[in-house]
Symmetry: D3
Subunit: 173 residues, 6 copies
């Protein structure tokens, strides 16, 4: 029986903290399922990259590192029902044994739903953090060192920084 | 610790089969939670009574029989996500130990979601069956004996039979 | 004819202000219907308690004070359509004569929808206020005097304060 | 004060029965509001025409007959909540005095919601009926006489009959 | 072939900036389609006017200026799926050639969806801006000069300023 | 630039017709994206297998045949908006050049949305057809020859035939 773990996130973008957590989960489990949340979003300030783009960037990284066949990429649109969301994700994913997260809300709801939960020890969470990385992009800071280099290349190929700046300008319309 | 069991249904209308199942569950459990499904519907052929009306009719029956303080009435609108619906219901109900149903789909999904399930042995399911009772109403047959008398009175008080006939006429518009 | 009034709220948690308003409504009406809003939420910073928990805590209070058979507890999930929400709630509740609220938005939309509305004179609204009570919990202040004691006991029984602190920590993931 | 009446329908397609009802309403009211339902649908067997196309075809007819400035065309997507749908439509329409329909369900729910309802006396409802007209199209019968000629021209301009045949073939995939 | 352009907005309220953009589009296109967004909202701080009211106020302006027969008013409820929203709007509108907006997010997503986009050069966007106009109303400032006078009259006729003040007071309930 | 094609379906279950179409698409394209529709369903008569199970069964087949790294498996829940569904799927998938289908509705809507469409020449569509295969299962017929053998093994491992029989029995509750 394949042992799998679920790791939900929005991955805006997928950064070193995510990758470090994923690799440590793959030391214990045969496979990981990345549930790519808010999959219906894209080109917004909080979710600048579409789910399709997020799948493509993570796929490029995993292929390069020979991990592609141990990781499932599952886009999951929001349903605005935080508790029912637990089974909504499970319904669309291959069967998992446990859920891993650094987010207390996610840990609580999956525990409430009866699943085994794993609290991720995040590596420098203040530094490796999607919201902060988007802020650094917005302010013209050095964001490339915060994500795997192949992810940085992908973001450049879609003019990601310019996009973040435009969609995060306060709308005047 | 109060021991509770969940019994989902649409209760269009609440009939003798439902009541018999409910009473037998109350022999084993302290309390039962009736999840009144398709709560957003009403005045349609499949769901002629609003959730509010269904709550009122069941409440009248339970008060008469002294069971009102052992039964919770929880309206649950459809979410069109059959698997996530399991936790959607659980989120809105007081904590239950098990789910009881005569519907194989309901038993399967709650088992899938990790809950204890109880297969209800329905009493004459062909006879006591919401869909059939509505057909009998439509055809002018004897439906009053199929529901508790206080339920029949309630249905009469809202002109339920005339309503079923009108909303089940094939729409010509 | 039973005279009923609707009182919508999120009740996160149910506090002295809510209870005072409820009791004053029960002086004029035979029954009150508490529409427990945002029922699909739980374990979030704004809605730490699930609807099931909110029902349980209010039920415990009402049973103790002999009011359980005059109050209906109706969980109502958000539908993100503020105007249609009026009839959404009415569809799931036993028939009411009027809607009571201290929230101008709620009063406006029910008036727009044609219902009789009652503006609640809230008792010390700055003090008795769900959002403020959760802040007090977060900051380790004295929150127990702001809710009925049986509600405080319930919150303790589910480690509510710890929960509020965890889900309101700014997520770093 | 402008006196307006609401007339909901799917108008798949807009036929002589609809037009006759609309004109008789315009004898009594200053303006009519056509709520074009199931607006999110199109290219399906039950809803072959998009809402945009339905607006265009009705607009062409009304302009020709000098009625365009007395009729509002409001597309309304389904919300799968038949009772809340009443206020959902009213929220998106200019203020109306009454709702007119030949459909018992629509009359019931708007009466439930507190509006004045008008039962339309439909002209030969068996003959002028969207579902039947689509069947006639499917079977290669004479459908052009059942709709205003300018509507027939519009349907031809989008290859409507071929479309109905393709999307109503039982899917083999 | 009629040449049409789509102009989406919330129009809370419709102001001089909107009207100036609309008129300049009508210099190039035969017709414009105003997609009135967040159509399910009303009586909230961010969306004080219902879609029906917004349609009425824009209609009054266009009738006065003889533009009513060149502009379509299409209410569009939010679907909380920013990318799918592109085709959601297109499905409900008469066929358009291009989409015009001053909002970078809207321009991005329609370009992503394959449409021709037109970046509106807004006239004094800081000044003519719905959010700012509502703030001015809230603070008792001079807002009437920021909207066409017939729009100001309409807002007065529904006590719009008082409404904005009430629904934007921080809720105490 | 990787050339990709989208192939939507419900895959209940994935059968020889699907596989034959997929392999012929892989002769022309570098990669295919299977959009696994109705992903929120499972344990129902029309959708007996969860999306997670469908992903697992297709994955097993593709791994065995060395095609796993050329095919993306994307679960897509229904949104009940057939036209907006086009961009909903595209938002969650890696960028594709074209959409392939044997279903006229799917071809029409993607053409409407501006995409290149490919009409699949299905191999014996009457025989290889999800609905028919589920009927054969229900009636105890020979269904194993209609799906790849590894898919048949997967279905057996989850007691799929018994499941189809139970959830397709007409509900008596």
């Amino acid at each position: 029986m394949v042992r799998r773990v679920l790791m939900p996130g929005r991955f805006q973008p997928f950064h070193n903290g995510h990758y470090s957590a994923l690799r440590s989960l793959l030391e214990e489990y045969d496979e990981a399922v990345l549930a790519v949340g808010s999959a219906q979003e894209g080109f917004t300030c909080q979710n600048p990259f579409t789910a399709g783009e997020r799948l493509e960037m993570i796929d490029a990284l995993l292929r390069r590192d020979g991990l592609r066949n141990r990781v499932w990429l599952i886009p999951v649109p929001d349903i605005r029902m935080p508790l029912a969301w637990t089974t909504h994700v499970l319904a669309m994913a291959p069967r998992v044994e446990a859920v891993a997260s650094g987010n207390p809300h996610v840990l609580y709801i999956y525990k409430w739903a009866g699943l085994k939960t794993i609290e991720l020890k995040l590596h420098e969470p203040y530094r490796y953090n999607g919201s902060r990385i988007r802020s650094v992009m917005l302010e013209g800071g050095e964001w490339r060192s915060l994500v795997p280099d192949i992810i940085a290349e992908y973001i450049d190929s879609v003019n990601g920084v310019e996009r973040v700046r435009k969609v995060c300008s306060s709308g005047v319309y």
